[in-house]
């Protein structure tokens, strides 16, 4: 069965473009052009994911999300031209699962849709929930036994060094490691040009696990201090 996605934005061209891209990916797409219409469709039809713009006539996107959250538990991606951190935090705190700022890359949006749907559908996955050695963190999951990282439930192919870095950071979620420490622990030797070496690997891991490697959500550089995987 094809998964059904509702796209709501008052800009018809944007809705059309997103619809074409998503249909290409094999999803069924419903369109809405204001908040009320979006809310009605999301409640009446079997919608599995909602992409909603914040600024919409009749009912704004955030209110629609709040109202929908009372009845449905589907993933919601909020689109907005506001790029402030406070706007993002507000969007996420009222029940959105993801916040994408305009202008966005269509590919990035599609990737986020895929990620959200995969997580939504694999929530009851027995394999991942039963294991004790599994460290879950948002989209990511790391099995300490297998030394394997999953993103949206898919195993990620990592090199030995990358696995070492991921192992260190996933076991200490949110903790900031200076490059030297990562180097010493992973490579096991005296640090030489640690910053460059570590950064290269960090970038490579990012490209494998992040949806938009330029704006990483998980593997982050803490400027002037070190590196960490954000705890979600």
């Amino acid at each position: 069965m094809r998964e059904c996605i509702l796209v709501a934005d008052d800009d018809r061209e944007i809705v059309a473009a997103i619809a074409i891209l998503l249909e290409k990916e094999g999803y069924e797409v419903l369109k809405a052009y204001d908040g009320l219409q979006a809310l009605e469709l999301a409640v009446e039809r079997r919608v599995q994911l909602l992409i909603v713009d914040v600024m919409m006539p009749k009912l704004d996107g955030l209110s629609a999300v709040m109202k929908l959250r009372e009845r449905r538990n589907i993933p919601i991606i909020v689109l907005s031209a506001k790029s402030e951190d406070s706007d993002k935090i507000l969007g996420l705190s009222i029940g959105a699962d993801d916040y994408v700022t305009k202008p966005f890359h269509p590919q990035e949006l599609v990737a986020r849709v895929r990620s959200q749907l995969r997580r939504y559908n694999s929530l009851g996955d027995a394999r991942s929930s039963g294991e004790k050695s599994l460290i879950r963190n948002g989209r990511l999951a790391y099995s300490t036994e297998e030394r394997c990282l999953y993103a949206d439930g898919e195993p990620i192919r990592l090199t030995a060094t990358e696995t070492g870095i991921v192992d260190l950071l996933m076991r200490n979620l949110g903790r900031i490691f200076p490059a030297e420490e990562i180097y010493q622990r992973v490579w096991g030797g005296e640090a030489y040009a640690a910053e460059n070496t570590v950064m290269v690997h960090i970038r490579r891991i990012r490209e494998k696990i992040e949806i938009n490697p330029k704006e990483p959500e998980y593997l982050k550089v803490v400027w002037g201090i070190g590196y960490k995987i954000e705890k979600k």
Binding site: L21, P103, N172, R175, P178, Q184, M199, V222, G224
Partner: protein
């Protein structure tokens, strides 16, 4: 109309009080001085209210005296007969007046002496009978009197003894000597037979008619009584109206107090004393007028006391003082203050002069007038001291306020006492302050408008840009001829640049208007620069430039927002990569002392740099053609972000040598407190198999290049 009626209401309430009180006073005076006739209030009341005139005391007295006259007539006629026989012409005999209201028939022994001519008295067997209209018949048979009214006998004698209170003064009382009838000789009296008949409905004959006068007086009195009652109740009613017109009455008294407040207290005292004197001595106008006037004076005086706080303050000396104060106020501030000195000296001089005068005038007893004089002097001394203290205190407050204003503190307006010498200065200061505050507020609101404009514009730019990027993406996925593919590629690139620019414009505007949200924390600036370089390693490696990096060996901590600082160095490095002459060297150097750390980036520009252009200005670029990939905001963003983080940023050009200098104050962690990020223990319970512990001194993790 409405307002007019509202205005007149207070006066109406006062009118009610005035009229009502006078009504009552008039009633009381009338009750005590005018109305009381003989017999007192009770009789007056009976008299005024009796429906039948025959029930009144006056009627009884009239009948008694008529009987007396009738008997006298009878006896005199007998005597006349005797005297006539003796040839003597007697004096004029008294006789009953002829009135149709009172009929009479008088007999002496069996001989008729007189009968009424005004009415028909028919006599049969020497006993008269009267017409029906005459309902009250009194008969004296020589010994006792019987009366019949409407066929009913009337009790005339009561207990049988004559007292002063008895209205009927008749012969035949036990111990009958007490009445006037005792003056008649007893032997003659028993021979008299008198009938008197009073008419029920009196005829108005003349005002001198015995019975008609009773009735007319009764009518007059009952009218007077009615009038009295009316006036009394009108008075009560008016007072009640006054009592219930609470608001109007207060308004009136308040207004009255407002008027009386202007009168000097001395005048009030004099008038009061005059009234007191007049009332006590009872001047020619009579006690009532004076009493009334003093009553009203008393009213207004008490009212004055009630509404005008400290009414004694409004007096002659005070008026003089106020006048002098007003004159003083007109002088410039300096002269005004100087006035205080002479004023005190004049006061002292006056006091000494008065003391001398007292000493000379009263000799030994001079201290008696000196006591109040000294008290007064002490009072004035105290007052002037207080004024001086207040002036000093207010000067202090004004000075404090001026320095507060200069510090930019926002305080409620300064209020000094109204008549203070510094009041004008305080007002001026307040208006300066409010002017400043207004200007600042206007500036803030215009800033806010600017920010809103920016965020709206950026929103309006971002929405179509989203469409452009999306459709370019769709186009790229279509099967297109090669030329078209090249065009779409250009579109994609330019759309991407536009996106960066819109974001940059937004950021730089926010920074320029001071609206960045900063998350400052202590961080290692050296490490941040290394990380940034590592982050951009690919671009650096792929360029033809060679970097000469000399960074501090030790960690150098600054207190800043890491993300913003990363943007600063990213922009600087991108600038260098974009605008440097190929194959040249780039120098990156850090110099640190105890207080400051300075990072200098030097490169050789590809284009000629113009001295006149400030490169950190928004949208200014080294080349005027603007064909390169930058937004023209790189240095501007670097500058505003550095400054937002508390550092300073400057650019120097020397020929083609371009130098950017970022300097920050070094952050010294308080003693005994290590950097939080470094000492946080691992979240995971199992420790990694590593050589070093998870916690490490930041000093120990410096790099060695």
């Amino acid at each position: 109309m409405d307002t007019k009626s509202k205005k007149s209401r207070p006066f109406f309430s006062f009118f009610c009080l005035f009229l009502g009180l006078h009504c009552l006073i008039g009633c009381v005076i009338a009750a005590f001085y005018v109305i009381p006739i003989e017999g007192g209030w009770e009789e007056y009341y009976d008299y005024a209210t009796a429906e039948d005139y025959q029930e009144t005391a006056r009627f009884r007295q009239t009948m008694s005296s008529s009987l007396y006259t009738a008997i006298q007539t009878a006896i005199e006629s007998q005597n006349q007969n005797t005297e006539q026989n003796e040839g003597q012409n007697g004096t004029e005999s008294s006789s009953l007046p002829d009135s149709p209201n009172l009929l009479y028939y008088i007999r002496y022994e069996s001989k008729e002496v007189a009968r009424s001519t005004a009415g028909t008295v028919s006599v049969t067997e020497k006993i008269p009978s009267f017409p029906e209209e005459y309902n009250f018949i009194l008969h004296f048979n020589g010994k006792t009197v019987t009366a019949i009214k409407d066929g009913e006998p009337v009790d005339l004698y009561g207990s049988g003894y004559y007292t002063m209170e008895s209205d009927w003064e008749l012969p035949g009382f036990q111990g009958g000597e007490s009445t006037i009838f005792s003056s008649f000789p007893k032997d003659q009296l028993v021979r008299c037979n008198v009938w008197l008949a009073a008419r029920k409905e009196l005829l108005s004959v003349s005002s001198y008619d015995v019975l008609a006068s009773i009735q007319s007086e009764q009518e007059r009195l009952s009218f007077a009584f009615f009038l009295w009652c009316m006036v009394f109740f009108a008075g009560i009613l008016l007072l009640l109206v006054y009592t219930f017109m609470r608001a109007s009455r207060n308004a009136f008294w308040q207004a009255a107090a407002g008027v009386t407040a202007h009168i000097w207290f001395e005048w009030k005292l004099i008038i009061g004393a005059a009234f007191l004197f007049a009332v006590l001595t009872g001047l020619s106008m009579g006690p009532f007028v004076w009493g009334d006037l003093s009553l009203w004076f008393f009213f207004f005086f008490v009212n004055d006391l009630r509404w005008n706080k400290g009414i004694w303050k409004h007096n002659g000396p005070m008026a003089l003082y106020c006048f002098l104060e007003r004159r003083r106020k007109l002088l410039p501030f300096q002269k005004r203050l100087i006035w205080y000195g002479p004023a005190v000296w004049i006061g002292v001089a006056v006091y000494l002069l008065l003391a001398l005068f007292c000493l000379l005038a009263f000799h030994g007893g001079f201290f008696i007038p000196m006591i109040p004089l000294t008290l007064l002097a002490a009072y004035f001394w105290h007052r002037s001291r207080k004024t001086f203290c207040v002036a000093v205190e207010e000067t202090g407050r004004l000075l404090d306020r001026i320095s507060a204003v200069s510090r930019g503190e926002s305080l409620p307006p300064l209020t000094l006492t109204f008549d203070s010498d510094l009041a004008q200065a305080a007002n001026d200061l307040n208006s300066i302050e409010s002017g400043i505050r207004e200007a600042v507020e206007r500036q803030i609101s215009s800033e806010r408008m600017k920010i809103e404009l920016i965020s709206n514009v950026s929103h309006d730019l971002k929405t179509p840009l989203t469409s452009i990027i999306s459709y370019v993406q769709l186009l790229q996925e279509e099967e297109l001829p090669d030329t078209a593919k090249g065009y779409v590629e250009i579109l994609a690139k330019k759309a991407e640049r536009l996106k960066t620019m819109v974001q940059d414009v937004f950021e730089v505007s926010k920074a320029a208007t001071g609206n960045l949200t900063m998350q400052n924390e202590p961080l290692d600036l050296t490490k941040l620069v290394r990380q940034t370089m590592a982050d951009m390693n690919e671009q650096i490696e792929s360029s033809t430039l060679s970097f000469r990096v000399s960074l501090s060996e030790e960690a150098v901590f600054v207190y800043a927002d890491g993300q913003k600082l990363y943007r600063v160095f990213q922009n600087l490095l991108e600038n260098i990569l974009r605008y440097s002459l190929e194959g040249t060297r780039v120098y990156l150097r850090q110099e640190t002392d105890f207080n400051n750390t300075e990072i200098t980036l030097r490169n050789v520009s590809r284009e000629e740099l113009l001295d006149s252009v400030d490169l950190t200005e928004r949208f200014v670029r080294g080349d005027d053609s603007r064909t390169d990939g930058g937004s023209g905001l790189g240095l501007s963003i670097a500058k505003s972000f550095t400054e937002a983080c508390g550092g300073s940023f400057r650019v120097e050009t020397d020929g083609d040598l371009f130098t950017a200098i970022v300097s920050f104050p070094v952050f010294h962690a308080p003693q005994g407190e290590k950097q939080e990020s470094e000492i946080t223990p691992a979240d995971s319970p199992e420790k990694m198999d590593s050589q070093g512990g998870p916690t490490e001194d930041p000093q120990g993790i410096s790099m060695d290049n």
